[in-house]
Symmetry: D2
Subunit: 347 residues, 4 copies
């Protein structure tokens, strides 16, 4: 099912080279101010064009089909559409013969009996993250509206009631090509991207997301723990290989006395090893998680792989212009996914 959420429900549709891609949002409260211009900022952040991203530019103009009237959401399902314009026909049968390593060509062919749309990855395309970003824009508005209208629901811990700042979701690259963010990392990242590009190769990255000013009490014990819901959404992003909260994998090598978060005199944890979540429930501290993205699978560098029709090994150099590191476009997608989860809990 290509649907997410229980009370704020996101339904995704479209293929990379089909007529259009889009998303239907159900459960959007009535009365939120919303226009196409609201999508611009986040759509631009996802767009290609920077160092390490493909120079191919798509229009990415959202069309609101329903759910908005006179500049406000109506409470009815909100459908947002993006026309596919920059597509070109090509010989895609080759993908069924020589499935691209790291792509869904092989599994799509088996799962859908070769009826899947192979053009540009079809429904598996990273282009589908565009309507997800659009959904995230609406989700962020919902979050701000709910927390602004009613800071008491769900409850904020007493110690934090004096801080009226709204909940914010902020994701950024903290590691690129194995190089952590720090002194001169911008320069070193640029060099690594240039080097990989020169080899026709690609790089991965780690994105960190911090959600601030979260009310206490989001999430459920066990099956719908907040980590469960966030990780569910995050692994829906193509190319994610791992997720960790707070101290993450390092926690496994820590002692209890090191990892535990005792409460300090102000009623707040003195550290945040749990990443803002205890027992599956938000504790009011920053929710902090990191997401590992694989390197771009489409590389010009030759790979030896099987041609399933000729049954012979062949040298494959994936054609086309690709991101050296598609994860550079991921932070806004990670934010969108986090926002979908929070909005679903708050509406």
């Amino acid at each position: 099912m290509n649907t997410f959420g229980r009370n704020f429900v996101v339904s995704l549709f479209g293929e990379s080279h089909g007529e259009a891609i889009g998303v239907v949002l159900d459960g959007v409260p009535a009365g939120l101010p919303l226009g196409v211009e609201d999508f611009g900022h986040d759509i631009r952040r996802r767009k290609s064009g920077g160092k390490g991203t493909t120079p191919r530019i798509e229009a990415d103009e959202p069309v609101i089909l329903s759910g908005v009237y006179e500049g406000h959401t109506t409470g009815a399902p909100l459908a947002v559409l993006f026309k596919n314009t920059n597509t070109r026909s090509g010989d895609y049968e080759i993908l069924q013969q020589v499935p691209r390593p790291g792509h869904a060509d092989f599994v799509a062919d088996v799962k859908f009996d070769s009826f899947n749309d192979p053009r540009g990855g079809g429904h598996f395309s990273g282009r589908l993250t565009l309507p997800i970003v659009a959904a995230g824009v609406v989700a962020k508005k919902i979050i701000a509206s709910v927390l602004d209208n009613d800071g008491e629901e769900p409850k904020k811990a007493g110690a934090r009631a004096s801080d009226p700042a709204p909940c914010t979701i902020k994701a950024s690259i903290v590691e690129l090509g194995g190089i952590r963010r720090g002194n001169h990392s911008e320069t070193r990242w640029r060099d690594a991207l240039d080097a990989a590009a020169a080899e026709g190769d690609s790089l991965g990255a780690v994105v960190e997301c911090v959600i601030s000013e979260v009310p206490v009490g989001l999430g459920e014990p066990f099956f719908n723990s907040l980590e469960s819901c966030i990780s569910h959404a995050i692994f829906a992003i193509p190319g994610v290989r791992g997720i960790e909260f707070g101290d993450g994998f390092r926690a496994a090598a820590m002692k209890g006395s090191e990892h535990n978060d005792p409460f300090g005199p102000d009623g707040r944890p003195v550290k945040n090893g749990a990443g803002g979540i205890n027992g599956g429930i938000s504790n009011g501290e920053d929710i902090v998680f990191r997401v590992a993205f694989k390197p771009t699978s489409s590389i010009a560098k030759e790979q030896q792989t099987l041609n399933f029709v000729t049954d012979k090994m062949t040298a494959l150099s994936v054609p086309g212009r690709h991101d050296v590191c598609f994860a550079l476009r991921a932070p806004v997608i990670v934010e969108a996914m986090a926002a979908l989860v929070l909005a679903d809990q708050l509406v």
Copy 2:
């Protein structure tokens, strides 16, 4: 919601010191042979008693309330109950005054307006993993039954059709207290556990799970990717801090030419950096994921933390007999969660 699954639905209930804990399983196919004796093996694997686990022994006898008749499942909801016997009353109001670091005491108190059952962590207790293990036993039976009855649904890749071995799910500790599994690791782990116990401290661990002989085609693109569903279930286990698939976080530091899985002459990937999943869909290779568990939060070692009533810092030494490393009991729980996901996709 304390419910998981769409077609095989698991509903969990109970509190640590309440009358009973249990699980209702809906969507169990009729005709599976099942009796209380089938639960014994996995329940024993979860039990305490080994090095690094608490010596307190509970009975853990499953009672099948419904859904089984004359030794076979009936197709009606299957309810399994475990009575709570080894409970003792205590002064639990202290937990609302001095919430234990790393536990859900604080968030439960806020979320449930102090109406939560505080005894032994209430519904947040790790004891609830017992009915989860029971659910996993049924899920494993479902998986074996579906794949045995009909190896073609969902499809297995041609190259693997000759192998009739059933799908297996196997989890084990691969890192304990920061020490990776390898030569002499058993000895080194024992020493680390002894040292931590002597200090009244605790250790974390990493559990690796391998699912073999998975049919191709499980999972969906985007919102219900197989990683999404597995991570959702895994983060429902108390104390999980991270999950990674295949090359995991290391993939973020690899180049595309290193991480990609080209196909070899036999039609199978020459490596398995993707951990058995592409585009959210199982590709027929082993599904491999690792789970980071935090160290046990309840430690005898003194922690300085706040008493929320007196508003003064206090030295807390969590009383009772606790696992030095509760993750030692986790592999069978990880298996159970993986089984819930697969069974839900297969029924």
Copy 3:
């Protein structure tokens, strides 16, 4: 799936002659006062014993397994159990040979490959309405609590804001054996029951349910219209053959000028032909619906039917003590189902 609801989720389990039957309620708000004694009134209303019902008396003692602590709901899943005591073994294989007309024997046998529990109808038994009544008791408490705490959410129409009476759900028999409620109907009903009993036959009935003081705004346009949700729940009661709202089937023979509900000077409809719902949404008027119950299927009177094993027609007189009109016990079940729907919308 034996589950109902989205935010207040009811999971039903058990078989007529199994160890126990019960229900798990997820999404119950914390802090509702609740004890076993709260179930007594509605359980007694469902009980047999009156004119036209079987003299067999069951204990029907609820056991709260979880979700209640010190007399209040905890916010964790609430499990209620009823032990089956008054069962006796019998020769139930005959049901697979001679499926009882009007019962689920035949379909259960086919659907569940003869693995269904045939004793007393197994999971299909009307006895399962007992935990449904228990769920209804909790649902009614939720409704009262939500509307009491926060009369503004969802909104009540202005004209009704002055009336602080809580929402009530009241169901009763309005037709029995074809005789409508009216003058002397009690006497005539008694005579009809006696006559049917004397013939070893049975009677049906129509139950009307009125929900008063409903807030405006419950329900959704189209797929989750309030009628959709209520009818979904009502048809889950065994033996229901029809449901109608407001003017119901008579509306089909009315003109628009007769059926429409114009608004009067006080802002309220001058009549209530729509039964309190417009466009799938509650309009603040009484929600009124009627439910048609078939006559009891188990009758002593001989029926000619097939023995599927001998392939010969046989005369069947269903043994045992049965309700002449099981619908006499139905009003409280109808109320419970209506309460489940409202509670699910209000939590």
Copy 4:
């Protein structure tokens, strides 16, 4: 939520006078032949133009946005769009002042804080049944495909295995303006429509739906009985006031010996009082249900109703060209809803 189904999920969006209306279908199997021309027949059946329907003609051209490639479904979500062309701006603020009797104007205004799109009823418009009919076309294809590919799943009763006819869903008017179908009913219906039109009034109708060649075993005991699911979908159609299965409301006035369905020598019920469903499960007989539709609410005939702004009673004659009996267009919508339910059970 404007979503229906568990495995075949239908998400509806759009407003009467917005840019477009449409539907997203998730869970469509790959490989079904499908093109825009397949929608023509059912769309025409829904169209206005006949006696008793409005002469306004809309284009109703479906656009397939996704999920179809080279004439076959891909297995990815299938989005179908209908542009709104024949809309005209008007003074819709009057609807908030003088809500039309029988319409959703009042409840929409309250529920959505006056942010709802009031033009032509907005999201509540009967025009939304157009994408529902489109969804029904796909659902019918799914049903035929599943039952054709695999007549054994779910099982057909033995007695019917020799009949290879596919499952068919057929709905038609059986009562119009209180006149039952029979001799000369066509003529009498025409006269009744003319008479109502002359008065500026409207008529209701009863639609009967028969589903033939249904496999045994669809539906679940209790909460997802087949009647529950069908009625849920049917009450999503605007203007439905009641539904009954088999003997329906008449069953309440029958004796058990009259209503029961004993099995005859051929293993089939000698009658079909249950309407093809026992214990919530299809029994292989025709599923028969009747749906009561109210008369069209929009009538030219003057109604006295309140102006909520002036607080004075006013004479309302609803302007525009309306169906005298919108139920004449309903049979294909009833079929579509029934098809959604069956497809959801069969995929």
